[in-house]
């Protein structure tokens, strides 16, 4: 198997800590991945364990054409075909992914509501502009009302989005008109977030929806309830409450941990606790307390998407991405790893047991056997955060001798919210996406790519992201990134403006120099993929590039995906009109017919489609080919003549 020879990571800090772990006999995700191969039947989506007559295995024989008889025989005990089984498995991944983002969104709304009702003093409106914009969008009266009164109405409306039974989700209207029509015609506009997920779970139950096309309509509806629902609510309300990100310089990789300070890593996905930790860890009393224990101060760092949240808003440094969570502990310098929800490997507990590191769970939805639970009370956020910081400080004195922090970190520029991009492209007085559209039209920028998603221990850590991104920017494709993919790019030095000259094609390099941006823009956590949807819509609205997201010379990818959230994101991107290519492994390979539905039929339905290509450079080429196809359709594949205006032409201009 190629994995035997394959390097574990392209990230030097990771490799250094893997050596340390090996020296100390500590097993990590990388070792377990080598020991345990993925189940080949499950990996292809050919295992059905939705009832107790099974689990049924309907694998597709490899290396030969299947005869019609063989295909006929490939059914479960109940008679479910490989197509149905594959589609049900895929749909359940969407349901779980949408549920995760949306439950995140729900928690944000709960905190927002507490704030609006004055039940917690520690949260406040940080971005009044955005609050008012949301109010206008949602039809909430502004008048002479206080921010909190407005916020309460918004909170109630958002809360209602989850339990709504009929109608349409409010943020659907943020999409281009043409896109909304496509959804309405196909009947995939979500009614209420929870309802779509519940219905999808129902329809994938034994003996319900056994037509993959019909099933995927609901799969799409649940995915849209994530991207244009739960995720979008989470992003928008977080921006109101914690501030809309703007460009900020920070650092990334394990080298941000500090030998002489209390190191506290916050890991997971939600920003509320992390926000509070960022504030209280700088309080003089806390710093004094740390000093009383012999530390020089408190060093807060992030991991995974919680890290992205506080990086985007405060420039808090990042210790690493998903596959580095155990390795942060392996440094021996981590005094506490504080976790909330999602992507927290249980393996950290075992690794932590080799060191003094405290694993502190904080969310009642996400406890871990053997870890300490310190509830994050949203009624009293700062006090909860202080208790956690104190626990980390107390643990500092227990640090062992075996401390080794890799001297590896990279600077990065983050903070590219949709609003910020608009500002950066024109300043306060001329903010718009015009320069972006203009330069896509004139070809300096060939197109846009969203490279997002996870790390996956089945492939060389970070390598897929970096190879793909480098290929894209070399070909003048501007890359927008979120989640662990963004962190990979940052660690590889692609998120500083200096990267433009080094890695980009001439056209993109010129744009980066003009705006002063890196060629890869960090747009936030994985829940913030909604920012990419809004940015894409803004590009459409600014004109000259068609009238729908599917017209844009743009593509999406998750080269190292592993989470069910990635499938939900992928589906809402496809359904929003984006060509989306995944790497590593493909979960429906067991059914050619269903895979064909995702890879071909969907393009006719949505203008976007799925694709799979494990080689990141080839995947990038597929994306570029798609971008070129869209450029041709728009008629911008050729150089345009300069138009000189005389008075008659000026009179023709619309007022």
């Amino acid at each position: 198997m190629p994995e035997e020879k394959q390097a574990k990571s392209i990230d030097k800090a990771t490799l250094e800590m893997l050596d340390k772990a090996a020296e100390e006999g500590i097993a990590t995700v990388f070792d377990r991945a080598e020991k345990m191969k993925p189940c080949p039947i499950g990996a292809d989506g050919s295992c059905c364990k939705n009832c107790a007559m099974g689990p049924c295995r309907v694998p597709l024989a490899k290396g030969k054409e299947e005869t019609p008889e063989e295909k006929k025989a490939r059914v479960g005990v109940c008679g479910a075909t490989a197509e149905t089984i594959s589609a049900r498995n895929f749909a359940r991944m969407i349901a779980a992914g949408s549920a995760s983002h949306s439950d995140h969104g729900r928690r944000v709304i709960e905190a927002f509501k507490l704030m609006a009702e004055g039940k917690t003093k520690d949260f406040e409106i940080k971005d009044e502009q955005k609050l008012l914009k949301l109010a206008l969008d949602m039809g909430v009266e502004i008048g002479n009302r206080s921010n909190n009164e407005i916020a309460l109405d918004i909170a109630n409306k958002c809360e209602n989005e989850f339990g709504k039974q009929e109608g349409e989700l409010l943020f659907i209207k943020n999409a281009p008109i043409k896109r909304q029509e496509i959804w309405r015609n196909l009947g995939v506009v979500p009614r209420g977030i929870d309802r779509e997920i519940v219905e999808l779970m129902h329809r994938t139950h034994m003996g319900v929806d056994q037509d993959y096309r019909n099933l995927m309509l609901q799969g799409t509806r649940a995915a849209l309830a994530d991207g244009w629902g739960g995720s979008m609510i989470a992003t928008e309300i977080q921006d109101c409450m914690f501030g809309t990100p703007s460009p900020v310089l920070s650092e990334i990789n394990l080298g941000v941990l500090k030998e002489d300070m209390v190191n506290l890593v916050i890991h997971g996905h939600e920003p509320a606790l992390a926000e509070m930790l960022a504030v209280v860890s700088q309080e003089p009393e806390m710093v004094k307390y740390a000093e009383s224990k012999g530390a020089k101060g408190i060093n807060l760092a992030g991991m995974c998407c919680t890290a992205n949240e506080i990086l985007m808003r405060h420039g808090v440094p990042i210790a690493g991405n998903f596959l580095q969570q155990e390795l942060a502990i392996v440094t021996g310098a981590l005094d506490a790893m504080v976790v909330d929800v999602q992507c927290i490997m249980q393996g950290i507990k075992e690794v932590a047991s080799c060191f003094h590191t405290k694993i502190i769970t904080t969310d009642n939805r996400a406890k871990m056997t053997g870890a300490e639970y310190m509830a994050f009370d949203e009624h009293n956020p700062k006090e909860s955060a202080r208790a956690i910081v104190r626990a980390a400080i107390d643990n500092y004195t227990k640090r062992g001798k075996n401390v080794r922090i890799p001297n590896i970190k990279q600077p990065l520029i983050a903070g590219f919210s949709h609003e910020t991009i608009s500002y950066l492209l024109g300043g306060l007085f001329r903010a718009s996406y015009r320069p972006l559209n203009d330069n896509i039209i004139n070809g300096r920028i060939r197109g846009l790519a969203g490279v997002v998603g996870c790390n996956n221990a089945r492939t060389t850590h970070d390598s897929g992201h970096i190879a793909m991104i480098k290929e894209l920017i070399k070909n003048d494709v501007l890359v927008l990134s979120t989640g662990c993919g963004a962190m990979a790019a940052a660690k590889a030095g692609l998120m500083v403006p200096e990267a433009a000259k080094k890695y980009c094609g001439e056209g993109l390099a010129e744009i980066c120099e003009t705006v002063g941006i890196p060629p890869v823009l960090h747009m936030g956590a994985c829940v913030d993929n909604s920012r990419i949807l809004i940015a894409a819509t803004a590009v459409v609205k600014d004109g000259g590039l068609g009238d729908d997201i599917s017209d844009l010379p743009a593509a999406g990818a998750a080269p190292e995906w592993m989470s069910e959230k990635a499938i939900a994101i992928g589906q809402y991107f496809v359904a929003s009109g984006v060509y989306t290519v995944f790497g590593t492994t493909w979960p429906t390979s067991g059914s050619k017919e269903f895979t064909n539905h995702l890879f071909k039929d969907m393009e006719e339905m949505y203008g976007g489609k799925w694709d799979f290509q494990p080689d990141p450079v080839q995947a990038a080429q597929l994306m570029i080919a798609h971008i070129d196809k869209k450029r041709k359709a728009l008629g911008i594949d050729k150089a345009r003549e300069r138009v000189l205006y005389d008075m008659d032409m000026r009179r023709e201009l619309e007022g």
């Binding site: 310089l249 520029i413 300043g427 306060l428 903010a431 320069p435 972006l436 330069n439 009179r651 007022g655």
Partner: protein, 735 residues
């Protein structure tokens, strides 16, 4: 932006804001917060600050808030390594650099009131013109609106030699562009270089020497900003619209001549907000990607002999210039140039000799196209400083030609001859007056070339209505007198015909949307008895213009059913206006000032306003800068009602229209006129009295008050009562 430019521009903005802050503090100590500040005779305060932010700076103390905002918006310097994105911040820095510079210039007006000259002309001792007042802005703005001037070049610095400066200026003039000059390079100033090279500068020749410092750039940008407010009808403070308006409609660009300092970069960044690109003659970094400007943002290292063409290409401007085969430069920019005293080679007309200009139709076989004859002495035959009688007879033939077009063509002679560099022309018909300079003659100019100009330009602009044209230029006394006699007979005939035309006598009016390039929702409809409010177009002109260009800005408008004969409202007109104003205006009345009067683009010659206390109306022309009894100066009035609005109680109109029979006819016409500025009374007095006679009050003009009587209703009312003004006994003007 490039990093080098961004870093420099932000540094420059910091310097400029610091300077303004220091200057303001000194001024506050000396004068106090209540000291009035501002630019002369303008309703737009400090126009960039007002237009962009909506803040009115009227007193020194008002600057505090602006400075506070400047400091809040000043971006931090660009870091050497791993800098944050700078395009947005640097554009902001450029904007506030302008705000700070406007305050610096305003404080200069306070400290040194005579630093800048007043009006359009430079003097021997002072060439710095400073801020364009609203009269200049409107008068010159009209040229931007109708396309006579397609844009402006803002020049910072100085050329390597006066000769190069002259060449660049002349080339810009030939492209009909205004040239706005500021700043210096190595102590040299572009404006001074032009003076040294013997070039006439001032508003008249479109070579506008705003000021010696970089900060005088704000006078150019302030001009552009006011254009958006006054002609585009955009609300002050609606910064986005004002800037986009300029990007789309004001074809301006900046040229830097010499080393680009941090402050220049800041000004350049500011200009880019308006969509004005920067063309540099030095090797500074370029910014070629498009977006804020229509094409490239900064193009550099352009050789001097290519810089003008490069600039207009980068701005995306198409200038239609016909080359006239004469040995001197030709274009509207030379229209305002004067020929004086020792420079005069030949003088004709103007009371010194007889002079006449006459366009007349002939049979096809009587005209040889392009033939120019000089009958009598040519310039070569006379001495410097001579006078000659002169008749210019233009003979035209063509299938489409009508007698009615003759005066239209004839009226072109004035500006066409004036377009020639070194030739000055005043008046028309038998009161024309011509001067030709020594410099022009030295370059080889002959009287014959007048014929060349008329042939080429009339063919270009009016070729559709005639086929052949020849010119006869007479310079012998007896020939000239013969032509004068014939011409006078024709003039009398024409005047009678025009006088006799009424709105009722035609079924078709003509639209004029010439200024929609600037005022997108404004549409004039011109009838025989309501000439264009800019004073440029009457019904006959529009009719001819339509014949010449059937898809142009003058379209026939069928009156259709009469909705109200007294107010002057027609169904067909309403329908047209609705469509042409893009739905903004669905009706208006031709003859009323009180009820839904006609809209104005802001370039009207005069504005009438109801004076309820006097039961009449007043009118004020653009050239009168003083207060008026309606409580507003002309410029404030124009600002209030311009931009394509219908404002009851106010109406914009042409000066000529005052004495037309339908002028505010719904309210009783000219008999309502209770106040006019003295200059307007003098200008239109003769026709006013003629019309007053028709109305049975021959001494009406004496009963009309002017500023010597008063500029409030209270002060003029006793005068009107004493004179027995007829308005006082008419029905109440407002019901």
């Amino acid at each position: 932006m490039s990093k080098i430019i961004a870093s420099a521009a932000i540094r420059g903005a910091h310097n400029i804001v610091d300077k303004a802050d220091k200057k303001w503090k000194e001024a506050m100590e000396k004068w106090g917060a209540n000291e009035p500040v501002g630019f002369p005779n303008t309703a737009y305060y400090l126009p960039i600050i007002f237009g962009i932010s909506g803040m009115k700076v009227e007193k020194l103390g008002d600057m505090e808030a602006v400075l506070k905002k400047c400091k809040a918006l000043l971006p931090p310097p660009v870091k050497e390594q791993h800098h944050l994105p700078y395009l947005g911040p640097v554009l902001d820095a450029g904007m506030i650099a302008f705000w700070a510079e406007e305050m610096l210039e305003a404080i200069r007006y306070l400290e040194t009131p005579d630093f800048y000259v007043k009006g359009e002309d430079v003097t021997d001792n002072n060439i710095w013109l400073g801020a364009a007042d609203d009269i200049i802005m409107r008068k010159r703005g009209v040229e931007f609106v109708d396309g006579t001037a397609p844009g402006f070049a803002a020049i910072l610095g100085a050329a390597p030699t006066p000769e190069i400066a002259k060449n660049i200026a002349e080339e810009l003039q030939k492209k009909n562009l205004y040239v706005f000059m500021a700043g210096s390079h190595n102590g040299e100033k572009f404006s001074e270089q032009l003076v040294k090279a013997g070039v006439q500068i001032g508003w008249g020749t479109r070579l506008v020497s705003f000021g010696p410092d970089t900060s005088a750039t704000v006078f150019a940008i302030g001009f552009a900003t006011r254009a958006a407010i006054s002609f585009g009808g955009i609300e002050p403070g609606d910064y986005r619209k004002i800037l986009i308006y300029n990007k789309d409609r004001v074809f301006a660009f900046a040229m830097t001549m010499g080393d680009v300092t941090d402050e220049w970069y800041a000004n350049g960044a500011g200009a880019i907000n308006w969509g004005f690109p920067i063309i540099a003659d030095t090797p500074i970094p370029q910014i070629l990607p498009t977006g804020i400007t229509t094409y490239e943002h900064v193009v550099s290292n352009v050789p001097h002999d290519e810089i003008v063409n490069k600039a207009i290409e980068v701005r995306g401007l198409k200038v239609n210039v016909t080359e006239i085969p004469i040995p001197i430069a030709f274009g509207p920019a030379f229209e305002g140039e004067r020929v004086r005293g020792d420079d005069i080679y030949l003088e004709a007309g103007g009371g010194r000799t007889h002079m006449v200009e006459w366009v007349t139709s002939k049979q096809m076989d009587e005209v040889e196209d392009g033939k120019v004859e000089v009958i009598g002495p040519e310039l070569a035959d006379i001495k410097v400083g001579s006078r000659l009688p002169l008749a210019i007879a233009v003979e035209i033939a063509g299938r489409q030609m009508q007698d009615d077009y003759e005066p239209i063509l004839e009226r072109q002679i004035h500006h066409l001859i004036n377009y020639a560099q070194g030739v000055m022309h005043i008046g028309q018909r038998d009161i024309a007056w011509l001067r030709i300079s020594k410099q022009a003659v030295e370059k080889g100019f002959k009287l014959e070339h007048i014929g060349t100009i008329l042939h080429a330009k009339l063919h270009q602009d009016f070729g559709r209505i005639f086929d052949k044209l020849q010119v006869k230029i007479y310079t012998k006394e007896e020939d000239v007198n013969k032509i004068i006699e014939k011409a006078r007979e024709v003039y009398r005939h024409r005047d009678e015909r025009i006088e006799g035309m009424t709105d009722e006598s035609v079924e078709t009016y003509y639209s004029c949307t010439l200024c929609q390039s600037f005022a997108p929702s404004h549409v004039c409809v011109i009838s025989p008895e309501r000439t264009g409010l800019c004073g440029s177009y009457n019904w006959m002109d529009c009719k001819a213009a339509f014949e010449i260009n059937p898809t142009g800005p003058n379209q026939p408008v069928e009156k259709g059913d009469v909705i109200d004969a007294k107010l002057g409202q027609w169904k067909g007109v309403n329908e047209f206006v609705t469509k042409a104003s893009r739905g903004k205006i669905d009706h208006y009345n031709f003859y009323s000032i009180v009820k839904d009067p006609m809209t104005t683009c802001g370039c009207c010659e005069a504005i009438a306003a109801v004076l309820p206390g006097c039961n009449g109306v007043m009118t004020v022309n653009r050239d009168y800068t003083g207060e008026t009894p309606c409580g507003m100066k002309f410029t404030t009035l124009a600002g209030t009602i311009g931009g394509g609005l219908s404002t009851p109680g106010f109406v914009g109109h042409g000066k000529y229209n005052t004495t037309q029979r339908k002028f505010v006819a719904a309210e009783g016409g000219l008999l309502r006129m209770v106040w006019m500025p003295k200059i307007l009374k003098e200008e239109i007095g003769e026709r006013f009295t003629a019309r007053a006679k028709e109305l049975g009050v021959p001494d009406l003009l004496d009963k009309v008050a002017d500023e010597t009587v008063g500029v409030t209703e209270d002060t003029i009312l006793p005068f009107l009562q004493e004179k027995g003004h007829p308005a006082l006994t008419m029905d109440p003007i407002l019901d």
